[in-house]
């Protein structure tokens, strides 16, 4: 068990190392710099800027400096926002993105459990068939189309919810649904197929044969045993939520990390790009670690591997 976790931890660190190095190399290879303007700055000014941000040093020196900073929790200065450094920006925007992600995950879970249960229990009924259709629709509908559709319908036409910004409950409804829809559809589909498999097992027949109530059979025996496959997708799901949050934050003008990443790319604010990428990777690695932990906790058979 300890060895398994240690290995996963090392794997996570390797991912982080690769991301730091890859972003660093890629951004240094990108043509054009952060201080290229329409009107060229005087060479003295450029030299001053380069000295201030250590851009005149060699790549290797800059890389070591950046790594040292990251280990100490300092993600460097922002080229665009001169009064704030990257760590400040991340600290400001992270809670917003995190809340959006958690709300979307909660929505996905709250939606998928009843739907998946119904679809599996009433196998081949219209519920079941629409669940299948929903899963395909869910992976085919890009966030920006769903978001635009929801805004047009519920905000512009019906006026039920606020579209844009992140201030009150009304402004959180549409982004949550937009981000959570695809995971909700996928989870329902997954739960349906694992439940179908479980419901065909011998121990379900036994449970029914001893006269247990259907509800006990369904919730205690079938659902419990179908949770593990659902757990395994939580890692990829976290990744999907993270990448989706970019677009959703952009569409709804939510001041989260993803929005800052998008503007940072257009501004060529390299330290901000690297910082945000790193934070997202840490999140992803943590989500995967958590899944590994939960997995070995829920299913004792895994420990031996």
């Amino acid at each position: 068990m300890a060895r398994f976790l240690l290995r996963r931890l090392l794997h996570g660190l390797a991912v982080l190392g690769v991301v730091v190095t890859l972003t660093f190399v890629l951004l240094h290879m990108t043509p054009g710099g952060p201080f290229d303007r329409e009107r060229r700055l005087p060479p003295e000014v450029l030299a001053n800027i380069a000295a201030k941000y250590h851009l005149d040093e060699s790549w290797s020196k800059q890389y070591v400096r950046y790594l040292k900073g990251v280990i100490q929790g300092d993600l460097g200065p922002s080229y665009k926002y001169l009064d704030r450094n990257v760590s400040d920006i991340v600290a400001d925007t992270f809670p917003v993105s995190a809340l959006l992600g958690i709300l979307a995950l909660a929505f996905a879970l709250a939606f998928s459990f009843p739907v998946g249960l119904c679809a599996a229990y009433y196998h081949n009924s219209w519920t079941d068939r629409s669940c299948l259709l929903l899963a395909t629709l869910g992976i085919s509908l890009p966030h920006f189309i769903l978001g635009a559709l929801l805004i047009w319908l519920f905000s512009l036409q019906l006026g039920w919810f606020q579209a844009g910004r992140w201030e009150n409950l009304s402004s959180m409804v549409l982004p949550t649904i937009t981000l959570g829809a695809a995971p909700a559809a996928y989870l329902s589909y997954l739960l349906r197929s694992t439940l179908l498999e479980t419901l065909g097992e011998d121990f379900i027949r036994t449970a029914r044969a001893k006269g247990l109530k259907e509800i006990t059979v369904l919730f205690k025996h079938a659902l419990n045993n179908s949770l593990i496959p659902t757990l395994t997708v939580l890692g990829p799901l976290a990744a999907a939520l993270i990448t989706g949050s970019f677009v959703v934050e952009y569409i709804f003008a939510i001041p989260g990390m993803g929005r800052f990443f998008i503007t940072a790319v257009t501004d060529r604010d390299y330290p901000l790009i690297m910082g945000v990428t790193l934070v997202y990777t840490v999140l992803l690695v943590c989500a995967n670690l958590l899944v590994d932990l939960l997995y070995s906790f829920v299913d004792p058979r895994i420990k031996s591997h």
Partner: protein, 282 residues
């Protein structure tokens, strides 16, 4: 040949899959033959007809600069289809070769190769893709290669898993026993037997690439080639419509519908192929 006929017969028995295939062919033809179909140029401005709704002379209406929306969508189709299929092929080539080497060689090399794939899987792919396309250039070619470089690992994993199984088959052992070369074993005996799951993955990676490209073009980080006469990405068209959604919803509606329907039919086709080729994986 006989296998192909059998496949075709089974395909005809599944109208959903067949219609998906037909729809995709229509989109491809519409896109690549756009200059022959449409009487308008994709960038052809018409200041008399700005922001018109759907009508007889402009079937899907015009945008803020008076450009015919149907023409722009047709030209956009070849951008999307090229990105989708091109990406899938790049990922297929890299991933399959990688997976073949890894699975066929086995041992320490396999272990190392798979650790690399594991790490690659842990990367936030959209972010890496954005950074890669910054380096490679934000045109169709750059986006295509960047997306391919991000998604090849899926093929590597599947190929390697399949090769590990196929390696143990009796006829492979037999081929080895009579002294066939490694290349011959791989090309003649292993590859044909692992084509089905790879083909299914290929079908599913086309819509995934179209989705990624249109999303990034929508948020302004995708293809950025405003003077290209070849076509504008559907994502960019949707972005144009997004800004005018309050007053002229048709400008976002039609590109969005094109993106959605294309991705949906590719996914339907993937589902159908999976059921056809791999009855176990249902």
């Amino acid at each position: 040949m006989k296998k192909t006929t059998r496949l075709w017969n089974e395909l005809c028995r599944k109208p959903g899959t067949l219609w998906s295939l037909v729809f995709i062919l229509v989109v491809c033809l519409g896109g690549y033959l756009a200059p022959l179909i449409s009487p308008y140029a994709p960038g052809g401005l018409d200041e008399q007809r700005i922001l018109q709704g759907p009508g007889w002379s402009h079937w899907l209406g015009t945008d803020g600069l008076g450009r015919d929306l149907l023409t722009r969508i047709l030209y956009g189709a070849r951008v999307s289809i090229t990105v989708g299929i091109g990406t899938a092929i790049i990922a297929l080539v890299i991933g399959t070769i990688y997976g073949l080497i890894s699975g066929y060689t086995g041992g320490a090399l396999d272990h190392l190769f798979m650790r690399i794939v594991d790490v690659w899987y842990g990367l936030p792919d959209l972010l890496i893709f954005i950074l890669l396309s910054l380096v490679l250039g934000r045109n169709i070619g750059g986006v295509l290669i960047a997306l391919g470089l991000v998604t090849w690992v899926r093929f590597a994993r599947i190929t390697r898993g399949q090769v590990l199984q196929a390696k143990e088959f009796i006829y492979v052992e037999g081929a080895r026993a009579i002294g066939a070369s490694h290349v011959r074993i791989i090309v003649r005996h292993i590859l044909p037997n692992i084509m089905a799951p790879i083909l299914v993955t290929l079908t599913f990676s086309v819509p995934a690439a179209i989705l990624a490209e249109s999303t990034l073009s929508f948020i302004g980080l995708g293809i950025n080639d405003p003077y290209s006469a070849w076509g504008t990405s559907w994502g960019t068209l949707a972005q144009d419509g997004w800004r005018a959604m309050r007053t002229y919803p048709h400008i976002i509606f039609f590109p969005a519908a094109a993106i959605f329907l294309t991705i949906l039919t590719f996914n339907f086709l993937g589902n159908g192929l999976r059921d056809l080729l791999d009855p176990k994986g249902k």
